[in-house]
């Protein structure tokens, strides 16, 4: 890497069959990934999914067991971190406690031999509106200020690729929102390639152009945020990115534009183009906010799926919306998010209801949810589980 020069613009990144093994476990297995120059890319996944390891590999802090890392077309797999035009905003910020804010920001430039390191550092601090604390020690700043200093310290080097390791995790909600906007603005201003690692789905979706959902060392699905949300391809994505109602059953007909699945004796349709598999046992799903609750049985209508009757077992009011848990015999618990267009919840607990949604809103997955995962994800509370069990017991007793 040439000294005393900045990267002209963001560079594209390519990971080629990256595998990283630690003694005792494999963090990443055969990972392929391309990130276009100048984009804001988010790597989203639960803790332990390998996203931080991926980031460390790109930064050069770890060496891959196999595979290649290409930055702007150049192979950087075996170069040291200080030789890569990549900078990181660390999760803990990792500001040097024994240096002033200004010295922190100028650190990288000085190592690269820039004559005007201090002036550039001041400039970067002005960008994050912290030039007035340039002489302070990091410990004297608030969490949000430290985060901005860490950002300035990385951005000032104009790296071809900026890595963000959950830098907003330590901030409170309000500050986080503000920082998200600021990050987006800065990215627009400096035009770098950003790679953001996070476990916060909302953060990933609001900030990134492209989101990759990672699980167990593999990328489950990659795409624009809306695409990932509206058309998840795996049970993991369907439940990690928001909530989903998932139903598993046999395909009974696959003619025309829709496939029809038999779920507990009811027929549910999904558009053929939105389904990954078209035969055998498949899992289909729909987002809870796409469902409509009705007090009476609706007249059958093409283009709409109907479930019912079911019973409202829980209604939790959360201001903007109300979240209902509806127990449908033979199906299980179905979650519904209804906007509060009137005052308060529309349905009371214990009410008999029908559920309906547009066939176009459904999606078909390429896999099935793992056994312990329940169809409504995290939202099944213990009372719902207890109710489920009671229903099952009653059913068994009736059979006996």
């Amino acid at each position: 890497m040439a000294r005393s020069t900045f990267a002209e613009s963001g560079a594209d990144l390519r990971l080629d069959g990256i595998t990283k093994r630690f003694p005792g476990f494999t963090a990443i297995e055969g990972l392929d990934l391309s990130i276009a120059a100048g984009s804001f890319f988010a790597l989203l996944g639960p803790s332990g999914c390998g996203k931080t390891t991926t980031l460390r590999l790109i930064a050069g802090l770890e060496e891959p067991t196999a595979g290649r890392i290409l930055l702007g077309g150049k192979d950087v797999t075996s170069t040291k971190p200080y030789q890569r035009p990549v900078n990181t905003v660390f999760q803990s910020y990792a500001l040097f406690p024994h240096m002033s804010v200004l010295e922190n920001v100028a650190f990288g430039l000085k190592r690269r031999g820039f004559k005007d390191a201090t002036a550039k550092a001041h400039e970067a601090l002005r960008l994050v509106e912290l030039d007035h604390v340039a002489q302070r020690r990091p410990a004297q700043l608030s969490g949000g200020q430290q985060q901005r200093v860490a950002l300035a310290r990385a951005v000032v080097n104009r790296p071809a690729l900026l890595l963000l390791d959950e830098p907003l995790g330590a901030l409170d909600l309000k500050l986080r929102r503000q920082m998200q906007l600021e990050l987006k603005t800065i990215q627009g201003e400096v035009g770098l390639t950003f790679l953001h690692v996070t476990h916060d789905q909302e953060e990933a979706m609001t900030m990134a152009d492209t989101v990759a959902v990672m699980n167990k060392g593999r990328i489950e699905q990659l795409g624009a945020p809306e695409e990932l949300y509206e058309l998840p391809r795996t049970a993991f994505v369907a439940n990690f990115l928001g909530n989903s109602n998932l139903f598993t059953g046999e395909v009974v007909s696959a003619d025309g534009d829709t496939i029809v699945v038999d779920v507990g004796g009811r027929r549910l349709a999904v558009p053929r183009v939105r389904a990954q598999r078209h035969a055998g046992e498949v899992t289909i799903g729909v987002r809870p906010e796409k469902l409509v609750l009705l007090p009476d049985e609706p007249t059958p209508q093409t283009g709409r799926n109907v479930l019912g009757p079911g019973r409202v077992i829980d209604a939790s009011f959360s201001g903007v919306s109300t979240q209902y848990q509806v127990a449908v015999p033979g199906i299980g618990i179905v979650a519904v998010f209804a906007q509060n267009l009137g005052f308060g919840p529309v349905m009371q607990e214990g009410a008999e209801v029908w559920l309906t949604w547009s066939v176009d809103h459904g999606f078909g997955l390429s896999d099935s949810p793992e056994p312990p995962a329940t169809s409504a994800g995290d939202d099944v509370d213990t009372s719902a589980l207890a109710l489920q069990r009671r229903e099952r017991l009653q059913a068994e007793l009736e059979e006996a």
Binding site: P81, Y82, T88, H98
Partner: protein
């Protein structure tokens, strides 16, 4: 009852601290005693002992030896101990448990055993005793204390700081000198001060390995039978005051920093 209990504890603590201070005050006071040969009975105040410390035979040589030994042993022990501390925290290696045990044992061994063991080894190997053997002995028992002191500091050092250094274009040696070393420095200084204090005040191990050479504690031990000259008190008092100034300054600085941090 509660209030009384609290005052009782405070009063006890004050008395206890005064009690700890009695022999110090006694030693300092007798550095001003107008004594002739033996410094046991108070004969009146004088500054003569302070103005002509080196008059008592051998006391300044012994003191000089102690400083020399202390400095060399401290440098050696601090260098080796710091390296071990870093290795223990930052690296995994085989025989880790054995290494830890090896470091713990010298601290759990009575000094008389350490001293006699080294003396037996020097005897067997035919090494003549002197300043060199004293330095070897002191370095040995200081290493463990350095390791424990510095290790706490290394363990408290966020590895992300060094990674940040590497990420920000610093070569490995620049990372060490600009990030790691300055951050470990307080721990290393504390370890060096402890080392020097241990070496300077050691008598038992020294006694076994010094041969005809004298250190300050050995001088006092030898002189104890016939009476300690007041000049020895002068040197001890001066060292005491110096150490006190250093420690008080450090403590005040720390307390002030704490307050400043709390305010901002």
């Amino acid at each position: 009852m509660r209030g009384l209990g609290r005052y009782a504890l405070a009063a006890y603590s004050v008395i206890a601290l005064v009690f700890l201070f009695i022999p110090i005050a006694y030693t300092v006071a007798f550095s001003f005693n107008d004594s002739r040969r033996s410094n046991i009975v108070w004969r009146g105040f004088t500054l003569d002992n302070w103005t002509s410390v080196c008059q008592a035979q051998g006391v300044c040589e012994a003191f000089g030896n102690s400083i020399l030994i202390g400095v060399v042993a401290t440098v050696l022990a601090t260098a080796m101990g710091t390296a071990i501390a870093i290795a223990l925290v930052r690296y995994r290696f085989r025989f880790r448990a054995a290494t830890t045990l090896l470091l713990f044992l010298p601290m759990a061994t009575p000094e008389v055993v350490l001293g006699a063991g080294l003396a037996a080894e020097f005897l067997t190997a035919g090494v003549p005793k002197g300043i060199g053997t004293i330095i070897l002995a002191h370095t040995m028992f200081c290493i463990s204390f350095v390791v424990v002191t510095v290790r706490a500091r290394v363990a408290g050092l966020d590895p992300a700081l060094e990674e940040a250094g590497r990420d920000l274009y610093a070569s490995p040696s620049q990372v060490w000198w600009r990030v790691t070393f300055p951050l470990l420095l307080p721990g290393i200084v504390a370890a060096a001060m402890l080392s020097f204090a241990l070496s300077f005040d050691d008598f038992i191990i020294t006694n076994f390995n010094s041969g005809a050479e004298t250190t300050f504690p050995k001088y006092i031990y030898t002189a104890a039978a016939r009476g300690i000259p007041a000049e020895a008190n002068v040197i001890a008092s001066a060292v005491f005051l110096l150490a006190l100034v250093i420690v008080v300054t450090a403590q005040l600085g720390r307390a002030a920093r704490k307050r400043r941090m709390a305010r901002s």
